[in-house]
């Protein structure tokens, strides 16, 4: 007897790969684990306006880059302007250019964003230690005194920043700070003081996202680096942390808008909140990232809908294996119930059951006549197939005449399978009597119904199509059940007479 170890390793590998692939798809590509999930999205319009001076104009506008929001769609409208979107190491910018601009100019940038839930500002590399700010002679003493005072009350870079922010916004500020604030904005002062201690800090701009707001402006925030992460401070208000619905528009620390060849430049934002399907959103994001690698969404729509059906078969097969190996239900034809269940998906369960019983009952009647004709098996089966098609046609017509639209779906039944079912049932009837026909026919319908219920559940359909890893898990389960040497549920009843203690 050879070792079972490689087998169990294979099963475990399939299982782990399947689960891992599904979890990866769910978390990394934010494919929702449940169907019908909705996500919020934000449509933000930025309107850049300036007055042209008739000279060549170049407008450089910083574009949003925030780990908490993913860009789904972005576009810029700017009649007559050349547009490039640059992506350098510091930030992403849209650059509009025109040979001659005079009068009022309006440039638009639209972006659709979805929250990613990632609200930490992780730094992928250590920022450079900033050079200390050289204070003017009038401010130097006050600044140094304040810095020393706060420094002594802090333990880390972060607590230094927190204490400093508190001091800058205290109800009764020290005279030193009052003096310094006359020449510096709170954010500037905050950054300069941090820089004096060699702590990386930068000024960033953020936009508060509120539904249906227009003519909004950017607010200034300060990011302070500590231990691999940037912390957000609002030095104007003395608060710390990321407010809800804040979109960081520019994190480079440079200016948001630069206009050459224009005056009175300004930028206004308007925004709109929207809900969209989480699945559609995830697909759009994957398309943007070219991450559709192992997804069926890159197929043409027709093949996609084909696969939606095909990928349900493993579920039905799993059901059949389970019911036969672990429960011990007899069916007529091993996988016939799966095909019937697939037809039920088109017809719905009740209509399907009625239709199936009608066709088989009619088929059996006609088959009993054929059996008197003494035909060769092949011609008899072929005759039954043709008769089944006739019955289906007849029922379809009748239900159409009577206005029963459900009846029209009867055409989804696999005719060859039905013909074989009728043939087998008929032989079974002759050989073992009607009781066995009821047992096996009922067993098949029972299995088909269970398979249908499993296959028609919307979350099952969602999973088998979106998380292909689940098929590896099904494969592992089927392999595992192929190793089951224990009693079937119905055998416990069958062997009941042997259960007496000896």
């Amino acid at each position: 007897m050879h070792s079972r170890k490689p087998f169990y390793i294979l099963v475990a590998l399939l299982f782990i790969t399947g689960i891992a692939a599904s979890v990866y798809r769910g978390i990394e590509h934010s494919v929702p684990f449940l169907p019908g999930k909705q996500v919020q999205s934000w449509a933000v319009d930025a309107k850049v306006s300036f007055r042209g001076t008739g000279e060549p104009a170049e407008v450089s506008f910083s574009l949003p880059e925030d780990p908490a929001y993913e860009i789904l769609v972005e576009n810029a409208t700017s009649p007559g302007y050349g547009l490039t979107i640059t992506n350098n190491a510091i930030d992403r910018r849209a650059i509009w250019s025109i040979r001659s601009a005079s009068g009022k100019q309006d440039l638009y940038y639209k972006v659709t964003l979805i929250p990613t839930g990632q609200d930490k500002l992780l730094a992928d590399k250590e920022p450079q230690i900033p050079t200390a700010y050289t204070w003017p002679a009038t401010e130097q003493a006050a600044a140094e005194q304040t810095i020393d005072e706060v420094w002594s009350k802090s333990a880390t870079n972060l607590s230094f920043a927190q204490q400093l922010n508190k001091e800058l916004n205290a109800n009764e500020r020290s005279q030193n700070i009052e003096l310094l604030l006359t020449g510096n904005s709170p954010s500037q002062l905050f950054i300069r003081m941090l820089h004096s201690k060699g702590i990386p800090a930068k000024e960033v701009s953020g936009l508060y996202l509120e539904d249906q707001r227009r003519r909004q402006q950017l607010s200034t925030f300060v990011e302070v680096y500590n231990d691999g992460q940037w912390h957000l401070f609002n030095a104007e208000e003395g608060s710390q942390g990321r407010p809800e619905n804040l979109l960081l528009w520019d994190r480079s620390g440079t200016s948001v808008l630069d206009v050459i060849g224009g005056v009175n430049s300004q930028v206004n934002f308007s925004m709109l909140q929207d809900t969209r399907s989480a699945l559609a959103t995830a697909i759009d994001v994957m398309k943007n990232d070219n991450a559709l690698d192992f997804s069926l969404y890159q197929l043409p729509l027709e093949e996609q809908s084909l696969f939606k059906g095909i990928l349900l078969i493993p579920i039905g097969v799993l059901m059949v294996v389970f019911l036969r190996v672990l429960i011990g239900i007899k069916t007529s034809g091993t996988f016939m119930p799966v095909l019937i269940a697939l037809a039920f998906i088109q017809t719905t369960l009740f209509t399907g059951l009625i239709g199936f019983l009608l066709i088989v009952a009619f088929g059996l009647m006609i088959r009993s006549y054929l059996s008197d004709l003494n035909l060769l098996l092949i011609s008899r089966i072929s005759a039954v197939i043709i008769v089944v098609i006739g019955i289906i046609g007849l029922f379809t017509l009748l239900s159409y005449k009577f206005g029963l639209s459900e009846g029209l779906t009867i055409t989804f039944f696999p005719m060859i399978i039905l013909a074989w079912t009728i043939e087998r049932m008929s032989i079974l009837w002759e050989e073992e009597g009607p009781k066995e026909v009821i047992v096996q026919g009922g067993g098949s319908l029972f299995v088909a119904t269970l398979a249908y219920l499993a296959m028609s559940a919307s979350w099952v359909q969602h999973w088998v199509f979106n998380f292909l890893g689940i098929h590896l898990v099904i494969l592992a389960l089927v392999l595992l059940m192929g190793q089951y040497t224990g009693y079937r549920l119905l055998e416990l009843k069958r062997f009941k007479p042997l259960a007496g203690d000896k």
């Binding site: 003494n374 098996l377 224990g486 009693y487 416990l492 009843k493 062997f495 042997l498 259960a499």
Partner: protein, 316 residues
């Protein structure tokens, strides 16, 4: 309770379908030897080559046009049996016990018209009864003149003796008696009576119908436990020889007792059913494990039968 406790069944050594398929059929029955038992014609030829007695072969029909030759084959017989060569589970067996002026009668006295016979043979050839629906050959065999010792024990049918031969050892036996409910057939699930037989003596142990213990034959009211299978030693020998012939480790042999020719091998089965355990009122696993523990042996048929009679008797 409606269901048996699986732990009790395991303790009693009851073999179940999944375990039989994986641990016994899968392990001890090499696929390439299946055709020796799945094709009854091959089995018959092998048996004859190994000096194992089988029912007389009247003829075979392998083509549809050959059906016309059947009346000629059977005209001078007392009766005949038509069976598919690759049939399973006793399907497609037609028994005619009386031939009179070209008219055929089944054991229950019903007439079978020649066209019904033709259709039956045609169905056999088309593969209706064969595994996987493959085209098949119909075998026409002589009727077995069954031993009168079973008179009163079987209703309208030939009682047959099923033995499970594991690696050449007969480890469990059962006598199958047809009843009115089983329509003269010896299949337990169709209502035939199964009587567990002691390997050592050939005496009845325990009887069941429809998986329930019974004492008397439902039709003839004869006491079943008191049954004694004659020529038991010959039966054990013949069945054990089937191991060398088929090279299948886990084998079911079906035999009948003919009045004149003694035990005849009817067919071999590479997937023998589990009902024999119910008929014997005990699980088969202890005996299977006993043989597995012995490892490879070089015992002759005689030695194996002697060994089995000591170790696999219900009273040992």
């Amino acid at each position: 309770m409606f269901l048996a406790n699986p732990a009790t069944l395991r303790r009693n050594g009851v073999l179940c379908m999944n375990k039989r398929n994986i641990d016994y059929i899968g392990r001890y029955n090499p696929r390439k030897f299946y055709k020796r038992v799945d094709d009854k014609l091959t089995t018959k030829q092998l048996a004859l080559a190994n000096n194992i007695a089988v029912p007389d072969l009247i003829g075979t029909v392998s083509e549809q046009h050959g059906i016309a030759e059947i009346p000629g084959m059977v005209d001078n017989t007392d009766g005949f049996v038509i069976k598919p060569s690759k049939g399973s589970g006793g399907k497609g067996i037609l028994v005619v016990t009386k031939v009179e002026n070209g008219r055929y009668y089944k054991p229950n006295g019903q007439e079978v018209t020649p066209s019904e016979v033709d259709r039956h043979v045609s169905n056999i050839l088309s593969g209706l009864f064969s595994l996987g629906g493959k085209p098949d050959v119909a075998i026409v065999e002589g009727l077995i003149q069954f031993d009168p010792v079973f008179d009163g024990y079987s209703y309208e049918g030939v009682p047959d003796i099923r033995l499970i031969i594991f690696k050449g050892f007969p480890i469990m036996g059962m006598l199958r008696l047809s009843t009115a409910a089983s329509d003269g057939k010896a299949n337990l699930h169709q209502g035939a009576v199964g009587v567990g037989i002691d390997i050592a003596t050939g005496k009845g142990l325990h009887a069941v119908q429809f998986d329930q213990p019974i004492d008397l034959h439902p039709d003839t009211k004869k006491e079943l436990i008191s049954i004694q299978v004659p020529q038991w030693d010959t039966l054990l020998h013949t069945a054990s020889m089937a191991y060398e012939m088929s090279e299948l480790g886990y084998l079911g042999t079906d035999m009948v007792l003919d009045k004149n020719k003694g035990p005849l091998l009817l067919e071999l089965n590479a997937r023998p059913g589990l009902a024999i355990q119910i008929a014997n009122g005990r699980g088969i696993l202890p005996n299977l494990r006993h043989v597995e523990k012995m490892g490879n042996h070089n015992m002759t048929v005689e030695e194996r039968v002697a060994y089995a009679k000591i170790h696999f008797s219900a009273n040992s």
